[in-house]
Symmetry: D2
Subunit: 322 residues, 4 copies
C-alpha cells in the first residue's frame, strides 16, 4: 500500500550522485517536502547550508543549488524510467530575488574559468527583490523610473532542478543539467506535469530544488525569481523502458528536454528524441513523424546560462491520440 511522507530536509546536497538516501520510496508513494534557494537568502533553512560545510562533499567555494534528497526508489533499476508526478510546486514566502553578476549571464562575456580572465566583463552587479502574491499568482517589481506603480507579471512557479544520479557513476554539480535532468531551469516542471527521468543507478536517487516563481526563456541574466517553497510529488517506475533524455507530459503536450552545448545540438537532440517517442509509442512511421514534427513541433528554450543549455521540443497530444 502506498504511503504519504512529509519530509523536512535536515541538510542539502550540492551534487547529483548516489549519496546516502534521505528516504526509501516505493511506486505510488507520495512525498511533501520543502526547498531552499541558492543563497539561503533570509531563509529559516539557512543553517542547514552551514551543516554542509562539514560533510566534505564540496572542496571549493561555489555552492550551487541546494538539493532536497536523494530519494531512493526501491523498484528503480538501470534501464527503467522514473516518473515523478508533480502535484504541487508552490512558493511559501512572499518575495523572490534575482541577481545580476559581472561575468555571468548569456549577454555578457562568460566567466569561463570561474575566476578572473582579466578580460571583458562589464555587466554591473545588481539585486532585484520581487514581491510575490502566491494567492493571486502575481509578482511585482518597483522600477526606478516608475515609482508610483510597479511592474506586474503573472507567476508560474516551477522547479529549476530535478534529476537522478548521473550515468557511469558520475557525480555532477547542481548547476549542471544533462541526461539525468539536473539544473534544466524549465518552466515546464511545474504543478500538473509528469516528469520522466532515465534511471542510471539502482535506486535512481531523485533530487529536487531551485524553485523559481517565474522566468524568461533562457534565464539570460542567470537568475530567475529565486524563492523557496513546498513541493508534493508521487513516484512511479516504468520497468524496462529506457529513455535517453528527460521527458515531460502535461494536458496538452508531450515534450523532451535535452541539455548540451552548443544550443543547436540541444535543439537537434530534443527533436530527434521527440520523433523517437512518437515512432515508438504512437502509430507513426519514422519519416512521417519527422514530417509532422517539422510542420507542427514547437521549441522552448530552458536555459542558456548553465554549463549545458536546455531546449524543450514539444508536440500537441491531440495530433497523436486521434
Amino acid at each position: 500500500m502506498s504511503k504519504n511522507y512529509n519530509f523536512s530536509p535536515t541538510r542539502f546536497h550540492y551534487t547529483f550522485g548516489p549519496h546516502e538516501p534521505v528516504l526509501k520510496l516505493h511506486i505510488g508513494d507520495k512525498v511533501s517536502t520543502k526547498t531552499d534557494d541558492i543563497s539561503g537568502f533570509e531563509s529559516e533553512m539557512k543553517k542547514l547550508h552551514k551543516d554542509k560545510m562539514h560533510t566534505g562533499e564540496e572542496s571549493s567555494y561555489f555552492e550551487g543549488n541546494p538539493l532536497v534528497g536523494p530519494f531512493y526508489i526501491e523498484e528503480a533499476q538501470f534501464g527503467d524510467t522514473l516518473v515523478i508526478e508533480l502535484l504541487k510546486i508552490r512558493p511559501n514566502r512572499n518575495f523572490a530575488y534575482s541577481t545580476h553578476k559581472p561575468g555571468f549571464g548569456a549577454l555578457g562575456i562568460e566567466d569561463f574559468d570561474f575566476g578572473p580572465t582579466g578580460l571583458t566583463k562589464s555587466i554591473p552587479a545588481n539585486k532585484f527583490c520581487w514581491s510575490l502574491d502566491n494567492i493571486k499568482n502575481l509578482g511585482q517589481l518597483e522600477l526606478s523610473k516608475r515609482k508610483s506603480k510597479p511592474i506586474e507579471i503573472s507567476l508560474s512557479p516551477f522547479l529549476g532542478c530535478i534529476g537522478t544520479a548521473p550515468r557511469f557513476g558520475q557525480v555532477l554539480s547542481s548547476i549542471v543539467p544533462g541526461e539525468h535532468g539536473g539544473n534544466m531551469d524549465c518552466i515546464e516542471t511545474k504543478t500538473g506535469t509528469k516528469v520522466f527521468l532515465p534511471v542510471f543507478t539502482k535506486g535512481a536517487y531523485l533530487f529536487m530544488g531551485d524553485m523559481h516563481a517565474a522566468q524568461g526563456d533562457g534565464e539570460i541574466c542567470g537568475s530567475a525569481l529565486e524563492t523557496i517553497g513546498e513541493i508534493t510529488f508521487r513516484i512511479d517506475v516504468l520497468k524496462n523502458k529506457q529513455i535517453h533524455w528527460p521527458r515531460f507530459e502535461d494536458k496538452k503536450y508531450i515534450m523532451v528536454a535535452a541539455s548540451v552545448r552548443p544550443l543547436i545540438d540541444a535543439l537537434r537532440i530534443a527533436y530527434a528524441e521527440l520523433i523517437n517517442w512518437i515512432v515508438n509509442d504512437y502509430d507513426f512511421t519514422k519519416w512521417e513523424a519527422y514530417q509532422l514534427v517539422s510542420q507542427v513541433g514547437r521549441i522552448r528554450v530552458g536555459n542558456v546560462v548553465n554549463p549545458n543549455y536546455t531546449v524543450v521540443a514539444k508536440l500537441p497530444k491531440k495530433l497523436l491520440n486521434e
Copy 2:
C-alpha cells in the same frame, strides 16, 4: 495622396539587391500581389521562372526562393526604417508540398558544400502533399498507417521571405536571412503584423516571397507547407530611425528577429536588440530592461536550416504600455 496597386509579377528574382524596381512607391501606398513557391510546383507562374534563365543573374544551378519585387520606396534612405504593414497573407491554391532532401535539414548531416561531401547523409528523399482548406484554415496529410483518417492541423500562413537590399552594396541569395530580413522563415510575418526593416540603400528595394501555409519551429526538414498566394501590404517609412535587425509588432508583442550562426548568437542578438528597443522607446533603464526581459522574455526559433539561423525574442506589450 496614397495609391493602391495591383501588381502581377512578370519575373522573379533569386537574390536580394538593388535590382531594377518593378514599382516605385510612396509612404501610404498599398500593394496587392502574388507569390510563387520555391519549385514552381504545378504553378501557373512557372513559366516566369524559365524567363529567369535568360537574365544572367544566376550563374549556377541552385534557384532559391522566387521573390516578388523589388519595390522602390521613394522616401527611404540609408539610416531610415521601412515599415511594411501586412494586410493579407493568404494561400490561393488548395495544396502545399513539403520535401525531405538527403543532405539537408537540421537533423541530418548538412550538405555543407552544396555538393557531395562523400561522407554521411542518410535522410531519404520524400515529397509530402498537404491539402489546404483556406476557408476553415486547416491542412491535412494522409499517413501510411492511418489511411482512413488523415492528420489535421491548423494553418497559419506567412511569408518565409521579406527583406530589403543588404548592407554594403551586397547582393544575397534568397535562401539567406540576415540584417536585411530575407529568408527568415518566421511564422510572425503573417496577416496583421507590422514588419520593420533597416534601409541600407536609397529606395530600400523591398522583396517578398516563399509563402508557407504552416511550419514548425526551426523548419527542421528544410521545407514547410510550401504554397503560393496573395499578399497585400501598406508602406511606411520612419525617417532617421535606425534599427540593426528586423522587428515585428502585432497586437500582443514587440519582437526582434536576428539571423546568424551559431544559434546562441542569434538568441543573444535578438534579446540585446529587444532590450535596446525597450530602453530607447519606453521608459526603462538599461539594467531594469535587462531584468524584465530575463524574467518575461520569450524565444521563438524561426529556422535552423538556412545559411543563418533565425531567432525571435519577444515581450508582451501590455508590460510596456502601463
Copy 3:
C-alpha cells in the same frame, strides 16, 4: 603566348562580385600589382579610396578591405577551377599597423549589429605600429615595460583576401570569407603557394588584397600586421574540375580552407573536403582516407573574427605520393 602585365590599380573594390574587369587574362598570363591596407594608413594610394565614394557601390559607412581587381579570366567557366600561383607576396613599406577596437575581436563581446548593443564591450581602443625589416624578414614592436629592447618576431607575409565572384550571382563584402575564398586571413596564401578557387561565374572575377606581414592563428584582436605590398601571380584553369572550397598546395602539404560559422563546422568541412581530395586524386578508398586523416591530419585556424570563421585542414604530400 602568355603575357606579363604590370598593373597599377586606379580604384579599389570593397565587394567580391562580377564588377567591370580591370584586366582580361588568359591561362599562363602573369600579373604584378600592388595592394593597399584596410585604412589606407599613410599610403600613397589613399586617394584611390576617395574615388570609391563616387562609384555608388557602398551605401553605408563600413569600408572593408580594399581589393585589387577584378581580373577576368577568359577560359574560366562555371564548373572549372581557377589556379593562382603566388609568385611573390612582399610588403613594400617598413611598417604595419594593428588596431584593437572595442566591440571587435574574438575575446570581447562581438559587436553583433555593427552598432551599439548598449551592452558589454570593454576592450580599449589601441593602435600598435610594428616596424618591418623586409630584407631580414623581421618585425619589431616597442613595449611599454621594455623600452630598451623591442620584441622581435619573424615575418611571413601573405594575402588576407583572395577570391572570385561568389555563387548564385551574389555580391559579398570584402570582410566575408566563403566558398569563393574572400577574407580568409590564412597565412598559407603566401609566396610559393598555389591557390585553387571554384569558378561560379564565367570569367571567374579574381580579386586580391589585405596584405599581412604576420598574424597569429585566429587573428583574435581582429587586426594583423596590416601593410601594403607587391604581388605577382600566374593564372591557370583546370577545366571541368569542380571543387567546393578553396584549396592550397605548397611543397609539403595539400590543404583545404573552409569558412563558415560555427568553428566546428569549418573544421568538419575542411576535413571532409580534404578526404574527398585524397579519394578523388590519389589511390585511396574513402574509409582508409578517413582513417589516414584521423591519424595524420593537421588543423590550422585562419580567422575567428570575420563573419565566417576559416579553418585549414592539411595532410603531408609525402604520404600520398609514395
Copy 4:
C-alpha cells in the same frame, strides 16, 4: 628524501574523482607505471578490467578509458597547482588499434544520447591494426589498394588522459576532459612535457591513461593509435598558485589547454588564459600581451569528439624570456 616507485596497477578506474588512492606521494617522488587501452585489446591486463565489474563504480554499459591511479599527493591542497613532469611515455607493444564506429566521430552525426536516435548515422564500423616500431618510432598500416607497400607515419606517443579530481566534489567519466584535465587527447602530453593541473581537492588525486602512439588534430574518427605502454613521471606542487585550466610547457612553448563546447569557446578560453599567464608571470601589460598573442599565438586542436572539445593555445618561450 624523494622516492622512486614502480607501481603495477591492480585495477583501473573509469572516473576521475577522490577514490581510494593507490599510492601516497610527496613532492619530488618519481613513479613508473603502466597503462592499458580502452578495450583491453589482447592485453595481459585485460583481467583487471573484469575486476572492475565488482566495484560498483559503474552502473551502466559504457566503460571509457581505463585510468591508473589515483595518486594522492600529500602537499597538494585546493588552490595549489600540481606539476607532473612526464619523463617517459612509451608504448610497450608492437601494434595499435583504431576503430570507426557508426554514430561516433566528428564527421558523422553524433550519437548524442549514447543510444539510438533513430535518425542518421552512416559511418561504417571498421577496425584498423597499425604495426608499431617503437625503436624507429614508425607506424605502418596496410591499405587495400596498395598491398605491396603499407603507408608509414612517424609516431609521437602521448597520454590521452591525465587529470585530477574535479571541482566541487564532482566525479567525471574518463571520456570527459575539463578544467581538471581528463580526456584531453592532446599530443603535447608526451615525454619531456611538464603538465600543470589545478588542485580542487586535498591530495589532488592524479590519474593517467589512454596512451596513443600517434593522432591527427581533433581525433576526428574518435579513435587514435590506441595502445598500451610505460610511463614515468615526477611530482611537484606549486603552493598557493591557482590556475584555471591545464597548462603545458616544453622546450619551445608555453601552452594552455581548454576543454569546453563549442569549439570557439575552447579557443577563446585557451587564448585568454595564455594571456593571463603572460601578464602574471612575465613582464607584459595586458593589452600588449593581447597584441602579442594576436600576432604570434598558435592554435592546436586536441579533440573534437569528446563531451568537451580541447584546444591548445601556445606561444614561443623565446619571445618571453628575452
